[in-house]
């Protein structure tokens, strides 16, 4: 194992001069070559195996990220800080491979070139999705900051910088490692052919095939690589103008998100709900608990439009209704959260009136908490005690303030999703048409389905994944 990592390093760093050593090493074992190679593959497969198989998405709208593995890699930090371009022994790079335009054939057909081309293409896509160039620039900036002698004079800032640095580093290391693996396997394969070693050749082919499959998973993982993507979140829905029509529509949307979340095994709780006078809701906040809830749900931010024959209109006319959706991450890392001062809060009993105390029996104990300096407020009324309503309202308030803070800092990695007040009603993202034809169409991606019922029952993954990939893939200068 130790030998192998030395080998691996020498091979990829200094391909031309070290090649003879590699060959010599191999040939010294050539009497009994298998043990070396099998232990090599054993080690490697142990690294890869825990990834397991990841069921990502299918027609039934299931998408399960709960067992996503940590991206485990095997590199020393000195290696990672080197962002030099990896090459094979004869100078081939990932971009070089793509440029060759080798045909990508079916997994079971074709030679190594087909695998290599497929993997190289995935690596390019992954880098694009991770916004590689921006990432590199940011990493450089952070490295400069981190090396300043007075960094720790401000421990909060220092902590944030070093966390961001560490996070970026491990993401980049991960991809670099994958890239290097590809080039090494190509080297191995070429070597095996030169040496006419069929065992080695078939093992290298197998390894390339494995990489090809892993690469597909990594492409999808890269869609959810944002800083807060793995967080739980709040989803807020607000009815647009148009009274009962749009309040009913807002309630339908809330229901859609509840069902979507349940399909994914996320926990769902209604935190706050303002019912409409006749039907539906004016506004609601639900909490979606689970890994990557925010990563997916953020694709839903914006105005949703419904066209249908209204059940509330006796003239059976066609109506168009609007509702806005905002999504707020619930940041797990306490140290990065907005620091709320107790004295900046105003806590009020919601809908209080009359004498209170012993005079009144009520199960209504809603609380509204206002952050006076920003005017941001949160309400919770669905818990069974005032204490719990207060705690719950506090967590909504905290997340809203975190969101505001993120917008203020506008850090590269802290993507910020619009709050309800920032969303412009003119800018709708998706249309749900129930009449005169039936269709749901996303106006950002043009993705559409002709079965609105299934969408309204929570089958949203097609829309979400299409949006996530298109928003990350379209932007050419991100690479």
């Amino acid at each position: 194992m130790v030998l192998f990592s030395i080998l691996k390093r020498s091979l990829s760093r200094n391909p031309n001069t070290k090649k003879p050593i590699f060959a010599a090493f191999l040939s010294s074992h050539s009497l009994n070559p298998l043990p070396l190679r099998s232990s090599f593959y054993l080690v490697r497969s142990r690294i890869r195996d825990p990834y397991g198989s990841i069921v990502f998405f299918g027609n039934a709208g299931r998408l399960d990220l709960s067992h996503f593995p940590p991206w485990f890699r095997w590199f020393s930090s000195s290696e990672a800080s080197e962002i030099s371009e990896a090459t094979t022994s004869d100078g081939l790079t990932v971009d070089g491979i793509v440029a060759k335009g080798w045909a990508i054939l079916d997994e079971n057909e074709g030679d190594w070139k087909s695998h290599a081309a497929a993997i190289a293409q995935s690596i390019q896509l992954i880098k694009k999705r991770l916004q590689w160039k921006k990432m590199s620039v940011r990493l450089e900036q952070l490295s400069v900051t981190i090396n300043k002698v007075d960094l720790w004079d401000d421990p909060v800032f220092a902590g944030r910088v070093s966390r961001e640095h560490g996070g970026l580093m491990s993401k980049m290391k991960e991809v670099k490692g994958f890239e290097q693996d590809l080039l090494e396997h190509i080297d191995m394969l070429k070597l095996a052919r030169e040496e006419n070693d069929q065992d080695l050749e078939s093992e290298s082919m197998k390894a390339l095939l494995n990489m090809r499959r892993t690469a597909k998973e990594k492409e999808l993982e890269a869609l959810l690589a944002g800083d807060n993507d793995s967080c739980s979140c709040f989803i807020e829905v607000q009815a647009g103008a148009g009274g009962t029509e749009s309040m009913d529509w807002a309630a339908m949307l809330v229901n859609m998100y509840k069902m979507w979340a349940q399909h994914h095994g996320f926990g769902v709780t209604v935190v706050d709900e303002m019912p409409g006078e006749v039907a539906g809701i004016k506004r609601a906040t639900i909490k979606v608990d689970g890994e990557y809830a925010f990563g997916y749900a953020k694709a839903e931010v914006g105005v949703h439009r419904l066209v249908r024959i209204s059940p509330f209109d006796s003239a059976k006319k066609r109506h168009t209704s609007f509702a806005a959706v905002a999504v707020i991450p619930i940041i797990g890392d306490v140290s990065t959260r907005y620091q709320i001062k107790e004295s900046d809060l105003r806590i009020e009993r919601f809908r209080a009136g009359g004498a209170g105390g012993q005079h009144v029996n009520t199960t209504e104990s809603a609380v509204r908490i206002t952050h006076i300096p920003t005017g941001i407020a949160a309400t919770c009324q669905n818990e069974r005690s005032q204490h719990s309503n207060k705690a719950s309202a506090m967590s909504v308030l905290q997340s809203r303030l975190d969101q505001l803070e993120m917008a203020r800092q506008a850090q590269l990695n802290a993507e910020h999703t619009q709050s309800l007040t920032e969303i412009s009603w003119g800018n709708h993202i998706r249309s749900y048409v129930l009449h005169p034809y039936r269709m749901v169409k996303d106006l950002r991606t043009n993705y559409e389905v002709s079965d609105p019922d299934s969408v309204l029952e929570g089958d949203l993954d097609g829309f979400i994944l299409n949006f996530l990939s298109s928003s990350l893939d379209k932007d050419e200068d991100k690479l």
Partner: protein
């Protein structure tokens, strides 16, 4: 009627009550709270859905009427209660609906809620208060949301967690349990009540939270059962009956018809018990000891605070009124000199 039950007697009575929830001392049988019953029953989803439809319709039709008649529950409050009733009574397991009461009982309970105006908390047999789920039943006041804050006030007192505390008129034991849970090794709460129902129910709650070593319940009037700790108390809290007698007939039906008068009626001005407590606090507390009382609000708080910082100025200092979340001066706090 003033007697001090040795704690062992309370335990004995409680043991019987917990085992069967049968009427050991009371004249009426009290069924166990819904959420503590076993999942003995099951229901077809369609039958449960039918109940839900019926109950929803009743809530929507009757809610507005109850609300406008005497400030009772409105439709949206009743609907929320319905979802909590089902939360307490049912459990889903592999697509099957298991129940802690049969459907007939659920129909009966919901009728009692709406027709008899039985408080929801008595219907399900519990009240969620702070982070606790307290057992309650007729004969015991349902703890109010406002009262939660008394616990926060206590927790701000320096060294509270190792102190000796008293909760006078403990009712369901809400304050005693919440304070007891926050205490450390040496901390203790003595909780008193004149009502045997309260002593029994408080005992159940103390037991449910495993606080038998921290909270001692004593039967008797106010400070009567606390002679052995006189002058030693770190602090005391009380939410005594404070409603002026003349207000009692006009109370909303849930309170006036169902909750015990002994827990509500504070005499002509509502201040009979409060004034008695103030006076006694001067000798019950140790020097530097803390007190916090809940009152009927604004005028009553001011009156009490005024009394304590003028008439008993040589006994107390730092007397303050504290607002509840509705902006009403709900509490009076201070320290013994």
């Amino acid at each position: 009627m003033i007697s001090r039950l040795p704690i062992s007697t309370v335990h004995l009575r409680r043991a019987i009550t917990i085992a069967s929830f049968s009427p050991s001392t009371a004249t009426q049988p009290y069924p166990p709270p819904l959420f503590l019953r076993p999942l003995t029953y099951s229901a077809a989803p369609s039958d449960l859905a039918a109940f839900r439809r019926w109950a929803t319709a009743r809530a929507t039709v009757d809610g507005p009427r109850l609300e406008s008649s005497d400030g009772g529950p409105g439709a949206s409050q009743l609907l929320r209660e319905l979802s909590w009733l089902l939360e307490d009574a049912t459990s889903q397991s592999n697509g099957k609906i298991l129940m802690r009461a049969d459907l007939d009982e659920l129909y009966r309970l919901w009728k009692e809620r709406i027709e008899e105006r039985k408080p929801f908390q008595y219907v399900v047999g519990c009240e969620h208060w702070r982070d606790l789920v307290l057992v309650v039943r007729e004969g015991v006041l349902i703890p109010r949301p406002e009262t939660e804050m008394l616990v926060d006030l206590v927790r701000e007192v320096e060294g509270f967690s190792e102190g000796l505390w008293a909760d006078l008129g403990t009712g369901s034991g809400a304050l005693a349990v919440a304070i007891g849970r926050a205490l450390e090794d040496k901390g203790r709460v003595f909780a008193t009540d004149l009502s045997l129902d309260a002593v029994e129910v408080a005992g159940i709650n103390v037991e449910r939270y495993g606080l038998k070593d921290k909270v001692e319940i004593r039967h008797g009037s106010w400070f009567e059962p606390l002679k052995d700790v006189k002058g030693k108390l770190t602090g005391l809290v009380s939410n005594p009956p404070y409603i002026p007698s003349s207000d009692i007939p006009g109370l909303q039906a849930e309170v006036g018809r169902h909750e015990p008068k002994l827990a509500l009626d504070g005499g002509m001005n509502g201040t009979d018990h409060l004034l008695h407590l103030c006076e006694e606090s001067a000798t019950a507390l140790r020097p530097g000891g803390f007190f916090a009382f809940e009152t009927n609000g604004n005028i009553q708080s001011e009156l009490i605070a005024n009394h304590m910082s003028t008439k008993w100025a040589n006994c107390f200092h730092n007397v303050k009124t504290v607002l509840d979340f509705a902006g009403i001066k709900r509490f009076v706090t201070g320290f013994r000199r």
